[in-house]
Symmetry: C2
Subunit: 496 residues, 2 copies
């Protein structure tokens, strides 16, 4: 085996490896504060490294504040600084921290638990919009019918055959033929997307996402060490196909393994790709041998006309991995999703087995029972009407309250609004203030891997606008306004 | 870096590495059916291996049916057998294949669906051993009590507080204090283990496992690009601590990030570490700053005496990640597990969010209700009695039927038996025959990352031994016997 000069076996530069070992000695207390550190010469000899490397190691430790140089005496272990944290925490040397997006998402999750807050953050409909009583009745029925549902480990890794058949039937009505046996039921769409990306990519690969893009997709890519290229998405028609073609034709296109999009009512910009564009996208993916990962969770929620086709409908060679769930349209609490695996079936099943084992059957049979009864369509009709109205209400409310120059999407399905504020407003920085004003939103920055959309935000229209929501939005508008104008000092006049 | 003689860089025996390369040439078509294969001498020269190794490689290929010996002419690529698949499948150029363990596991899953088969394969108890009626009643009760369980997306990423409190209470009775709020509920223990390993390691890191080791652990490591070092585990006392200490003290120990074990009734060898050894293990992990991932799914299933403590009980600095589930002891169909995250809490929650989102609340509230009623202990007492008897029965049955020289564990908890057959019997090769004889088992090879245990197998004692099981086991014993003795030609006499 060959190693580059200056690396240890694991590929760490030698000077860093030495520094890390020294740091460990210091942290463990083997080298105590104010104790003398081995000299450059001694260190070089002890560790069998060059003088240059030994010097670099000591510099590294000095930079980290672990050792201090004293004139003409060499290096000493630094005095320990008074710890501001309680001792219990200080003793946890490798306590993992959240960085970046994760920290924001944690704050969002916490915010959503704030009592009385207007739930404009997470993209979730009001539970009252779901047919819970009917679902509960289905649950009771299937539990009676098959008493082993709880005691039996689900043997079929793909999930309940009954549910898979119902999903296939549903898509058949839409105009898409799916082989029921191929479907794999998952723990929500997040797991489906995780599995899809995991099976298709290796660390260091690249995927293309639309921009703005669902942050979950960006996170999954990040967690798998997969790079992301953003291609603009139009708020009405979605992904810019020509831009994608240029990318794939160029040098950067070579590392692209997959395109990951939400073709129907994308999150956050609500775009719905026209049929011709979907067809073109699938064809393009074929030309460049790229997989298409399609998130279809909002597909059933069009406000008018026919249910839009997924890109999967134009798939000829199993390269489209259709991922979806019932979390937006029927039963978020069931946490059931699925993936139509195309040519990755075996690998996806294996990956599913490895990540979480089988998906619980109880809710699957419940949903199968509900779908079989034919009530899903009726439920959807009611839900689409409600969402369409709520989106309109919220949109009106935002237009009235937000500063001049604010732009707003007009989605024709789903239940999120994407708001672009005049530049200069940092929605991430203002999020905590918004929570204090009584409402939650998702800052635009989360929808980009390259720091765009700082002046944007996403609003959930899953709930009807209440007077409290209206008040909170009006206050938020004032907050935004105050950050825009360089304080024209008119307020005092008004209060007189 | 040192390698034992006869291994390549990845630790694969040389003869296998050579055979695999040849197999790849054959599969790719570079070596065509009926074409002559390089001679032993040529192969040895080409690959710079000994004649013995070259011979072993060719034998391996012959055993796999890839090449055929022709008298006095050497080896030739085997004729391809007529393909049973329809042409549509042949045309999928990048159809993902299952390799190695995954292919075996798929066969196992398929085998378990064979009607009437004795379910000695997957480690699952008879559903009749679980309190299904009581669980169903709990389910109905919680669904009535909280009608939003299905319509509301679970906001708390950690899971139901009620369930977390009940789990904490359960462990408190065992003698282990856990902060309920820190617990994270997962989709079964598989997800808990996946999360733990993912958060603690990076690709290229190393973990230590006991040997034999639960194959799920090996798979997760493989899927994350994490290397595995196996440390022997004694069938009674578990992991060999001194061997672990030596490993961690040496050069190979530097890359070790975690030790992953099942301290209580390990799968497959049933060992239960004595308290002193557990304490020593946790201490050792602390000394070398290594995380301990502990799988405790069998912990509640001791046959006698007190419930054994998990290693977590000796954790002082949050370095033990306790993973467990209710799949072995209460409700496999609920697919609920949990992780006590120690100092990785935030990262684990974030990873959980990313992999699958929240875990469904319905079953969580159901289990919380059941646990709260105090019936879990009563259920466990009954279940332990049944399992203890079943293990004894199965053990007796195997001793009567298997060839002389067979060794067998005597577990004091759980419900798997680990069987070591006389060497020369390849349990993986014979698995399909076993299924035809009417029973399923897990071949020993799955429990090692380095090709050990070819002559071992694991049996599930989760079901009572029926006359049909007994017959199947007797037949299997005869099959094994027939592979042992060089065909003493007694069969014809018998049939007369």
């Amino acid at each position: 085996m060959q190693y580059s000069y200056g690396m240890d076996d694991s590929g760490t530069p030698l000077y860093l490896a030495v520094a890390q070992d020294m740091a460990a000695l210091i942290h463990s207390g083997a080298l105590k504060p104010m104790e003398r550190v081995p000299s450059v010469r001694l260190l070089a000899r002890q560790r069998r490294v060059s003088i240059t490397t030994a010097v670099a190691s000591l510099r590294e430790l000095e930079q980290r504040g672990l050792i201090e140089a004293r004139p003409k005496s060499g290096y000493f272990v630094a005095r320990r600084r008074p710890a501001p944290e309680p001792p219990a925490q200080v003793e946890l040397p490798r306590r993992a921290r959240l960085a970046g997006t994760q920290a924001i998402l944690k704050r969002l999750a916490d915010a959503s638990l704030t009592p009385g807050i207007a739930r404009l953050g997470q993209a979730l409909p009001d539970p009252a919009l779901f047919p819970e009583a009917a679902l509960r009745a289905c649950l009771a029925r299937v539990a009676r019918r098959d008493p082993t549902l709880l005691g039996e480990y689900p043997v079929r890794m793909g999930g309940s055959l009954a549910l898979r058949e119902q999903i296939a039937r549903h898509y058949a009505h839409v105009g898409l033929a799916l082989p029921a046996e191929e479907l794999i039921i998952t723990n929500g769409c997040m797991e489906a997307l995780t599995l899809a990306m995991r099976v298709v990519t290796a660390p260091g690969d690249t995927i293309v996402v639309e921009s703005p893009s669902y942050f979950g997709m960006l996170q999954i890519a990040e967690s798998l060490g997969v790079k992301v290229i953003e291609i603009p998405s139009h708020p009405r028609d979605g992904l810019h196909i020509q831009a994608l073609r240029e990318l794939l034709s160029g040098k950067a296109g070579r590392d692209v393994r997959a395109v990951a999009i939400t073709a129907n009512f994308s999150n956050p910009n609500g775009s719905c790709m026209p049929v011709a564009r979907k067809r073109e996208l699938v064809k393009l993916c074929g030309e460049f041998d790229v997989v298409l990962i399609e998130d279809d969770v909002y597909g059933d929620l069009q406000f008018d006309g026919a249910r839009p086709l997924p890109c999967k409908a134009f798939d000829r060679d199993g390269r489209v991995l259709l991922c979806s769930s019932f979390s937006k349209s029927l039963a978020p609490g069931a946490r059931l999703g699925f993936i139509v695996p195309g040519r990755y079936r075996d690998m996806l099943r294996a990956a599913k087995h490895m990540i979480s084992g089988a998906t619980p059957l109880l809710q699957q049979e419940m949903l199968a029972d509900f779908l079989q009864s034919g009530r899903y369509e009726r439920h959807l009709r009611r839900m689409r009407r409600a969402l369409s109205q709520q989106v309109m209400q919220l949109s009106q409310c935002v237009q009235d309250a937000f500063p001049e120059g604010t732009r707003l999407t007009q989605p024709e399905g789903g239940f999120v609004l994407w708001v672009e504020l005049p530049s200069g407003i940092d929605t991430l920085a203002l999020h905590e203030d918004a929570v204090r004003l009584g409402l939650d939103y998702v800052p635009g920055a989360l929808f980009s891997a390259s720091g765009r959309y700082a002046n944007c935000l996403r609003l959930n229209a899953g709930y009807a606008v209440t007077p409290a929501t209206e008040t909170a939005i009006r206050r938020l508008g004032q907050l935004f306004q105050s950050r825009l104008a360089p304080a024209p000092r008119r307020a005092p006049e008004r209060t007189r």
